[in-house]
């Protein structure tokens, strides 16, 4: 049985300007100890997908499709089951590390409350556990961090403390939302190494716009305008990309000459057809028809008529 199965998931936000489709027709499968990177530019729906997986979206979000965690439909769970699942079975490493901790509660207390809530340990034992996880993520003085308030720590320190918190319950699946956002190259490398080490016993979905970060995962899914446009083994996708958008992302990296993708990301894709066609250099007549995600080789799928 797979760990997580997402089927035809779509999320629509009811806004004053009318309904806005954030993600559409998402299918994903995660096995035990699987690692998947979801890449794409801002607004492509990757964070919404992460939040929808944990049923964390606001009431204004209309969610269709299904998310099945260990054979149980997340969207059919009772409130109690849902609270049990969050933080214990599926854990989120939220983005914006400095804003993720409550400013008036000590870091240690915020980690301990999760450990206790998850029923992993209680009281003194939970505190010890929190301290050892702070130690695992490389703090030289875990006690000082435990007693510290978030504002006394840098963004990178908060990120490490967040990873310590999110992994302290030994979850089955960790969803890391932009763990390298806003970090310099050295911190980024440290965080990625540490994330890899800390999530070794779990499955990992890493949401990122950073292809270097994505490279540490076994598979990568590329999202554009709310859809998965390419998914496959990381090496295959990053070295032999089949979708023109994936190629654009790769060429846009600083190490590849920072070549921008022409045109602009049209978030409110009202038109039919391929959503990338107004930016695609290889656009052809068939592109007015919406392409389906199809397998072009073992485990490598792409949403393009011509790939």
């Amino acid at each position: 049985m797979s760990l997580l199965k997402v089927r035809d998931l779509s999320v629509t936000f009811d806004t004053l300007q009318g309904p806005f489709k954030a993600i559409e027709g998402i299918d994903l499968d995660m096995e035990e100890l699987d690692t998947l990177a979801i890449v794409g530019e801002s607004g492509c729906g990757k964070s919404v997908l992460g939040h929808a997986t944990m049923r964390l979206l606001d009431d204004i979000a209309v969610v269709r499709g299904s998310v099945i965690y260990r054979g149980r439909e997340v969207y059919a769970m009772s409130q109690k089951e849902l609270l049990e699942m969050r933080g214990k079975a599926i854990s989120l490493v939220p983005q914006s590390p400095s804003a993720s901790f409550n400013p008036v509660i000590r870091i240690g207390k915020q980690i301990t409350e999760l450990i206790e809530k998850a029923g992993v340990a209680h009281g003194r034992e939970a505190e010890e556990r929190a301290l050892s996880y702070l130690d695992y993520v490389g703090f030289s003085d875990p006690h000082a961090i435990f007693d510290s308030y978030p504002h006394r720590m840098s963004g990178g320190m908060c990120e490490r403390a967040l990873i310590a918190m999110s992994t302290s319950t030994e979850p089955d699946l960790i969803i890391a939302d932009e763990p390298t956002k806003g970090l310099d190259a050295l911190s980024r490398k440290n965080i990625l190494d540490m994330l890899q080490r800390m999530t070794a016993g779990s499955s990992l979905i890493m949401i990122t716009h950073d292809l270097k970060a994505a490279a540490m995962c076994k598979r990568v899914a590329v999202m554009y305008s709310g859809e998965i446009v390419e998914i496959g083994p990381t090496r295959v996708v990053l070295e032999h990309p089949a979708h023109q958008y994936t190629r654009g992302l790769i060429d846009a990296q600083p190490s590849k000459g920072m070549k921008p993708i022409p045109g602009r990301h049209n978030i409110s894709h009202k038109s039919e057809g391929c959503r990338f066609r107004n930016r695609c250099e290889l656009v052809q007549s068939e592109c007015v028809r919406h392409p389906l995600l199809r397998e072009i080789e073992e485990g490598h799928m792409v949403r393009c008529h011509y790939a």
Partner: protein
């Protein structure tokens, strides 16, 4: 810098600021009556002044020290203020300080319970409304609060007195006690007399702070760390009590402390409606009878009281919000 040294520097800085504020207010307090058009002695004597001969006016002026150069008057006034000595009341022939001590005590008896009850009410009702935003309870409570907040307190107080004291006869019309009881019965009697004024003041306090608590909750509920708390699978109750209310606390406590000053002015109206002998009636009577020494003394007392409350608010904010507390420890001004 060491923590203790930083904290000491912070408090020294604060004390200096409050000291300067106090000197400025005392100076304004000195200047206003002297800047007013007309002769203070003629104001003091009212209509009688036209019948008093010039020599007697000069004597009176000398008696109050008003014939001396303005800088001498200022220095003497400031020295007096330093000793909390404001001379004698013109009409009551009592030391201003003694008069104020007595009246201030009764004002505190009126406002302390009102602040405690009002604050508690505001916290509980604000939480109920804030966590159920848009619900019927929220709309009802918010509506009542806005009504109370915009309602003139004297009008509200008079309506309450008319209904509960005059028509229903459940409570006395005014005064602090009926003056016939002693011991425990005396305290009960005071409680009975203070019930309506305290209830009204509490309601006004609650209405104002309710709106602050409710809005504070709304704002905090939208913070990212609340989303993170949800992602951790914490129950709504834990999130509300631990994560949200803990963040409301610094703002709540400092508003409560700041409100001390406003409560005194609120109490002024209520004291007049209920004929209670507090600071409010003292100031009112002094204005009516142009008893300047009493007025000046009363303003200085209220100023010191409000400044002390502000200082308390600063300190409590630093204790309840570590971000502010840290900036205190580093001696940094905020």
């Amino acid at each position: 810098m060491s923590l203790a040294k930083g904290r000491a520097r912070f408090f020294a800085g604060k004390a200096l600021r409050y000291g300067i504020t106090l000197v400025i207010i005392l100076s304004i307090n000195f200047a206003i009556p002297r800047a007013m058009p007309g002769d203070p002695m003629i104001n003091l004597l009212g209509e009688d002044a036209v019948r008093v001969d010039r020599q007697m006016l000069d004597e009176l002026r000398a008696q109050y020290g008003l014939d001396r150069p303005i800088q001498d008057q200022y220095i003497e006034y400031m020295l007096g203020a330093g000793r909390l000595d404001f001379g004698y009341s013109i009409h009551k022939n009592l030391k201003v300080t003694e008069l104020i001590y007595d009246r201030f005590f009764w004002t505190l008896v009126l406002i302390f319970p009102s602040i405690a009850i009002g604050g508690l009410l505001a916290l509980v009702l604000g939480a109920i409304a804030g966590f159920r935003q848009g619900s019927k309870v929220d709309r009802l409570l918010t509506g009542v609060s806005i009504f109370m907040y915009s309602c003139p307190s004297f009008l509200f107080a008079m309506v309450i007195v008319t209904i509960f004291s005059f028509h229903l006869g459940w409570f006395p019309l005014g005064n602090i006690s009926s003056g016939r009881t002693q011991g425990f019965a005396y305290l009960l009697d005071i409680g009975y007399h203070l019930f309506l004024p305290v209830a009204i003041l509490s309601a006004f306090e609650a209405a104002y702070i309710f709106l602050i608590v409710r809005n504070s909750i709304t704002q905090i509920m939208g913070e990212y760390f609340i989303f993170v708390a949800k992602a951790k699978g914490l129950s709504a109750r834990v999130i509300e009590l631990r994560h949200v209310m803990r963040n409301v606390l610094p703002q709540f406590i400092s508003i409560m402390a700041l409100n001390f000053g406003f409560m005194v002015s609120g109490a002024l109206i209520i004291e007049i409606v209920f004929s209670l002998n507090g600071m409010g009636t003292l100031i009112y009577d002094s204005v009516m009878s142009r008893d300047y020494p009493v007025l000046q003394g009363a303003f200085v007392f209220l100023t010191i009281f409000v400044l002390a409350a502000n200082f308390l608010a600063d300190v409590l904010y630093g204790i309840t919000d570590p971000r502010i507390g840290d900036s205190m420890n580093t001696g940094k001004m905020i």
